[in-house]
C-alpha cells in the first residue's frame, strides 16, 4: 500500500474536516508569545545590569539605599503562593472537582495577585516620595523600565483572571473556558518565573 501510494505522490481522501485540536494550537501559539516576551524581559534585565554603574547612578540613589528586604520578601511570598493556588485551580479543572472549587482557588489567586500589585504600588509610591523617580538617573530609568513592566504583565493577568471568572460564572467550564484558563495558568507561572529573576537580580543583588 505504502509503496503504491508513494509513486502516486498525492491522494485525495475525504475525512471529517481535519478535526484540528484548536486548543493545542492555541497553547503552542501562546508558548511562542511567552518566549517572545521572554526576550523582552531578558533585554530589560541586561539593560538594568549595565546601568548598575556609578556613571548611571549619576549621583542619585543607589540600589543599596533604595531597596529593602521585607518589602521584596512580602511581594515574593504573595506571588509564589498565588502560583501554587493557581496550580490548585488547574488541578481542580483537570480532575473535575467541581466548579465551586475552581472558582474559589481562582479567587484566592486573584486576591494574592491584587495583594502583590498593592505592595508593588506602595513601594513605587515610596520611592517617588523619596525623589527616586525614573527621571533622576539612567539606573532608575532601567529600574522603572523593568519592574513595572512585570507589574503591567501582572495587571494584565489579573484582568484576564477576572474575565475568566465572569466567563465560567456565566457558562460553566466549557471547552473554551478550560483552554483559556490553561493558557492563563501558563502566563501566571511564567510571571512568577520572571519574578524570580527580579528579586534575585534587582533586590537581592542590589542589597547584597
Amino acid at each position: 500500500m505504502n509503496v503504491i501510494a508513494r509513486s502516486l505522490g498525492l491522494t485525495w481522501v475525504a475525512e471529517y474536516d481535519h478535526e484540528h485540536d484548536r486548543a493545542a494550537s492555541a497553547l503552542s501559539g501562546f508558548w511562542l508569545f511567552m518566549m517572545s516576551d521572554l526576550i523582552i524581559f531578558g533585554l530589560m534585565f541586561a539593560t538594568y545590569v549595565t546601568m548598575l554603574t556609578p556613571m548611571s547612578f549619576a549621583g542619585g540613589p543607589t540600589p543599596k539605599e533604595l531597596f529593602e528586604l521585607p518589602g521584596a520578601a512580602l511581594e515574593t511570598a504573595a506571588l509564589l503562593t498565588s502560583t501554587y493556588t493557581f496550580g490548585m485551580a488547574s488541578l481542580a479543572i483537570k480532575f473535575d472537582r467541581g466548579l465551586g472549587k475552581v472558582k474559589s482557588w481562582l479567587l484566592i489567586t486573584l486576591a494574592l495577585g491584587l495583594v502583590f500589585l498593592a505592595l508593588e504600588i506602595r513601594e513605587f509610591a515610596h520611592m517617588v516620595a523619596e525623589g527616586a523617580v525614573p527621571q533622576r538617573s539612567g539606573f532608575l530609568s532601567a529600574f522603572f523600565g523593568l519592574v513595572p513592566l512585570h507589574g503591567v504583565h501582572v495587571t494584565a493577568g489579573v484582568t484576564w483572571l477576572v474575565m475568566m471568572l465572569i466567563q465560567i460564572n456565566r457558562t460553566g467550564l466549557t471547552g473554551s473556558a478550560k483552554s483559556r484558563i490553561a493558557r492563563l495558568a501558563l502566563f501566571w507561572h511564567f510571571l512568577d518565573l520572571i519574578w524570580v529573576g527580579i528579586f534575585s537580580v534587582v533586590y537581592l543583588g542590589g542589597i547584597a
Binding site: 505522490g9 481522501v13 474536516d17 554603574t53 538617573s137
Partner: protein
C-alpha cells in the same frame, strides 16, 4: 483660554505643521517639492475614494477584502500595501539620486529635507515595502503548500495586517501633516532625543515602527504554529517545500528578533515622552545600548528580508529547470543555520563604536561564518540548474540576476566583516552600495519573482511576459548603474546621508548613478503598465488548470483562483514534490471518492479596527492629543475583549455537495483544455494544464 483649549484638542498640532500649505507661504523649490508630495498623497486618497464610489466598489471592498480572514486575500492586501509603498520608496530614492547628481552645485533639496528623505526611504523600504511583501507571499503560499484550510489563527492574521497598515498610514500621514524624523531608519540617539529633535518626526518613526513590529511578531507566531500544526497528513517536515521551510525560519526570526526593536523603540519613547534616561547624554543614559539593541533586531531582520526570497528562488529555479531541487536537505540545514547564526553577529554594524579589538574580532569571524551556509545555497541552486530544462521566464531572469549580483554583494559583505576594512568604509556610500546590493537583487527581485510566479494562482491569469521582461531588465540595469558607482565614491571617502559634496571627482560617478535612477523609474512605471496590460488581456492568459508552469508543489494542484477552502478534500502526501510525482505517474488530476462538509472561520472586523484605531493611537501620541490616544487604546482593548468573549459568531459551512459540484465543474474544464509542453509556457495556448514530458531526470 482659547489657546489651552486648542492644545487640549489638537495637542501640539498647528497650522505650520500642514505641509500642503507650505508651497503657498514659502514658494521655493524645496518647499514646492514638500507640498507637492503631500498633495500627491491627498489627491491619491481622494481619487481612490472617488473611483471606489463611482464604480460602487465600497461594498465588495469591505465584505470581500477588508473584513476577510481568507489568508489569500490578506496576503494580497499585504502585497498591495507593499507595492504602493514601493512606489513611494523608489521615488524618494530617485529624488535623492537626482539631488546628489547635482550635489556638487548644492542641488535643489534642503539638508533637512534630504535627511527626511533617507529616513522615510529606509523606514518604508524595510518596514512597509519588504516586510509586507514577504508577509503577503508567505500568507498566500504557505497554507497552500502545506495543504491547510487556513492559518492557525485567522482573526489574528487580520489583526496583524491592520497593525502593519496603521504603521504605514502614519508614515504616509507624516507627508501631509508635520515632518518625519531626520534620524535615518535606525533613529540613533542622542540625536533622536528631544534635546536635538523636539518635533513630531521621531515620534512618527517610533510609533510607525512599533505598531508594525507588533503586527510582525504576531504574524511570526501565527505562521510558526500554522507550519508546525496544520500540515496535511503525510506532509512530514522533510516533505515541506523549500519556500515553506524558509517561511518557517523567517517566522521564528520574527518571533525572536522583533522584541529587541520593541524594547529599543519603547525605551526611546520613554526618554522622549516621560523624561527617562535610557539613552540620553546626561544623568547616566547610555546611547550605545541603543545601537546594541537596535541591531540585535536589525541583523536578524536582514535575514527576515532575505530568507523568503531564498525560498522563492528555490521554487522558481526548480520549476523553471524542470528538475527537483538539488540538495534539498542541505538547503534546509543551511536555512536553519543561517537563522540561528543571524542572532550572533549584530555587533558588525558598529565595529567603530570603541570596544576592544578582540570583541570586534569575535563578531567579525562570526559574521564570516554566515557566508558558509549561504554559499551552500548558491551551489545548490546552480546544481539544480545543471542539465535542467531551463526556461528563461521572467521569474527566472530575476533569479539569474540575483545569483550573479548577490554573490558580488556577499563578497563586499565579507570585506565589511573585517573590522579593519570596516573602519575605512564605515558610514560611507560603500556600505550603502553593499546593502542595496543585497536588498535589491536579493529581497526586491525575489519578491518580484514571487509576485510573477504566483500571480496566476491568485487571480487566475498570468502576468504579461513582455512587459515583465522589460521591467526585469530595467530593474537590473537601473540597479547596476545606480549602485555600482557608489562602491567607488564610497572608497573615495564620500559619506552616506550627505546632501552635497565639494570634491569634483565624485561628480561623474553620481551622474552615472543618476542615470541608474532613471532606469529604476522606468522599471517602476513598467510594473504598472504590466499590471494594466495583463488585466486588459486576461482572456489570453487564463490559467484554467491551475498549473501554468508545470510546477512541483502542492499549491499548483488546486484550481486558480484558489477557492476559499483551498482544497476540496484533504490531500494526503506521500513524497517530496508530491504534485510533480503525481503528474509523472499520470495522476495529476484525480477526483476524490467522497467529500465532506467544510467549515471556515467567519469574517472579522479586527483588522479594520486595528488599522483605524492603531493609526489614531499613533497619531494621538505623535501630536500629544492625549484624549485621542486614550480613546483609541480603549477601543482597541474593548473590541479585543469583546471578540474574545463573543467568539466567532458567523462561521461558514460549505456543504459537501457544493464542494463536489464546484470541483467536478473544474475537472470538466480541465479535461477540455489541451495540455501544453513547457516550450509553450508563455504562449496564449497555455491554459494551465501541463503536458507530461520525460526528461533524463525522470528516466533515472
Amino acid at each position: 483660554m482659547s489657546h489651552s483649549f486648542w492644545s487640549l484638542v489638537f495637542g501640539r498640532l498647528d497650522f505650520d505643521s500642514l505641509d500642503f500649505l507650505k508651497a503657498f507661504f514659502h514658494p521655493d523649490l524645496n518647499d514646492v517639492i514638500v507640498s507637492g508630495a503631500s498633495w500627491v498623497v491627498i489627491l491619491g486618497a481622494v481619487v481612490t475614494a472617488a473611483l471606489l464610489t463611482w464604480f460602487r466598489l465600497w461594498g465588495p471592498l469591505w465584505s470581500k477584502w477588508l473584513i476577510s480572514v481568507d489568508h489569500k486575500r490578506i496576503g494580497v492586501m499585504y502585497i498591495v500595501l507593499a507595492l504602493i509603498m514601493l512606489a513611494r520608496g523608489v521615488l524618494e530614492g530617485v529624488v535623492m539620486r537626482a539631488q546628489q547628481a547635482d550635489g556638487l552645485h548644492g542641488g535643489f533639496v534642503s539638508a533637512d529635507h534630504f535627511a527626511q528623505l533617507f529616513s522615510t526611504h529606509g523606514t518604508i523600504m524595510i518596514f512597509f515595502m519588504a516586510m509586507p511583501f514577504l508577509t503577503g507571499l508567505i500568507n498566500i503560499v504557505v497554507p497552500l503548500q502545506i495543504g491547510a484550510r487556513d492559518v492557525s489563527f485567522p482573526m489574528l492574521n487580520s489583526l496583524s495586517l491592520g497593525l502593519t497598515v496603521s504603521g504605514a498610514m502614519l508614515v504616509m500621514i507624516s507627508l501631509v501633516i508635520g515632518d518625519f524624523s531626520t534620524g535615518g531608519w535606525t533613529a540613533y540617539p542622542p540625536y533622536t532625543e528631544p534635546d536635538f529633535q523636539p518635533g513630531a518626526g521621531v515620534d512618527y518613526w517610533i510609533w510607525a515602527v512599533t505598531l508594525a513590529g507588533l503586527g510582525s511578531t504576531l504574524t511570526g507566531i501565527n505562521f510558526v504554529v500554522t507550519i508546525l500544526k496544520e500540515r496535511a497528513p503525510g506532509m512530514t517536515l522533510l516533505r515541506m517545500p523549500i519556500f515553506t521551510w524558509n517561511a518557517l525560519c523567517t517566522s521564528l526570526l520574527l518571533v525572536f528578533a522583533m522584541p529587541p526593536l520593541t524594547v529599543a523603540g519603547l525605551m526611546l519613547a520613554a526618554d522622549r515622552y516621560l523624561g527617562f534616561h535610557f539613552f540620553t547624554n546626561t544623568l547616566g543614559g547610555n546611547m550605545m545600548n541603543y545601537a546594541n539593541l537596535f541591531w540585535q533586531f536589525g541583523h536578524p531582520e536582514v535575514y527576515i528580508l532575505i530568507l523568503p526570497a531564498f525560498g522563492v528562488y528555490g521554487e522558481v529555479i526548480a520549476t523553471f529547470s524542470g528538475k527537483r531541487l538539488y540538495g534539498y536537505v542541505t538547503l534546509v540545514i543551511a536555512t536553519m543555520a543561517i537563522g540561528f547564526l543571524s542572532f550572533g553577529v549584530w555587533l558588525h554594524h558598529f565595529f567603530t563604536m570603541g570596544q576592544d579589538a578582540d570583541v570586534n574580532a569575535v563578531f567579525g569571524i562570526a559574521t564570516m561564518l554566515i557566508g558558509i551556509p549561504t554559499g551552500v545555497k548558491v551551489y545548490d541552486w546552480m546544481a539544480t540548474m545543471f542539465r535542467g530544462r531551463i526556461r528563461f521566464s521572467v521569474p527566472m531572469v530575476y533569479a539569474l540576476a540575483f545569483m550573479v549580483l548577490f554573490v558580488l554583494g556577499g563578497l563586499t559583505g565579507i570585506l565589511l566583516a573585517n573590522p579593519t576594512v570596516d573602519f575605512q568604509v564605515h558610514n560611507t556610500l560603500f556600505l550603502v552600495a553593499h546593502f542595496h546590493n543585497m536588498l535589491i537583487p536579493g529581497t526586491l527581485f525575489g519578491m518580484l519573482a514571487g509576485y510573477t510566479y504566483w500571480f496566476p494562482k491568485v487571480f487566475g491569469f498570468r502576468l504579461n511576459d513582455r512587459w515583465g521582461y522589460i521591467a526585469a531588465f530595467s530593474w537590473i540595469i537601473g540597479y547596476f548603474l545606480a549602485f555600482m558607482p557608489l562602491y567607488a565614491v564610497g572608497l573615495m571617502g564620500m559619506t552616506r546621508r550627505t546632501v552635497s559634496y565639494t570634491n569634483s571627482a565624485f561628480e561623474p560617478w553620481f551622474l552615472v548613478a543618476g542615470a541608474g535612477a532613471f532606469f529604476v523609474t522606468v522599471a517602476l512605471v513598467t510594473l504598472c503598465v504590466q499590471l494594466y496590460v495583463s488585466i486588459r488581456d486576461r482572456e489570453l492568459t487564463r490559467d484554467i488548470g491551475g498549473d501554468p508552469w508545470n510546477a512541483r508543489t502542492l499549491e499548483w494542484a488546486t484550481p486558480s483562483p484558489v477557492p476559499a477552502y483551498n482544497f476540496p478534500v484533504m490531500p494526503h502526501i506521500h513524497a517530496l514534490d508530491a504534485f510533480a510525482v503525481a503528474k509523472e505517474a499520470g495522476f495529476g488530476y484525480q477526483e476524490p471518492t467522497s467529500y465532506s462538509d467544510i467549515h471556515l472561520p467567519g469574517n472579522t472586523w479586527a483588522g479594520v479596527i486595528a488599522a483605524v484605531f492603531g493609526t489614531a493611537l499613533g497619531f494621538g501620541l505623535v501630536w500629544h492629543m492625549w484624549w485621542l490616544a486614550w480613546l483609541s487604546l480603549a477601543v482597541l482593548a474593548v473590541s479585543l475583549i469583546a471578540r474574545a468573549l463573543l467568539g466567532d459568531r458567523h462561521p461558514v459551512k460549505i456543504p459537501a455537495t457544493e464542494v463536489r459540484r464546484q470541483y467536478r465543474a473544474w475537472l470538466e474544464k480541465v479535461r477540455a483544455v489541451t495540455p501544453v509542453t513547457r516550450a509553450l509556457e508563455w504562449d496564449h495556448r497555455n491554459c494551465g494544464v501541463a503536458a507530461t514530458e520525460y526528461f533524463e531526470e525522470a528516466a533515472e
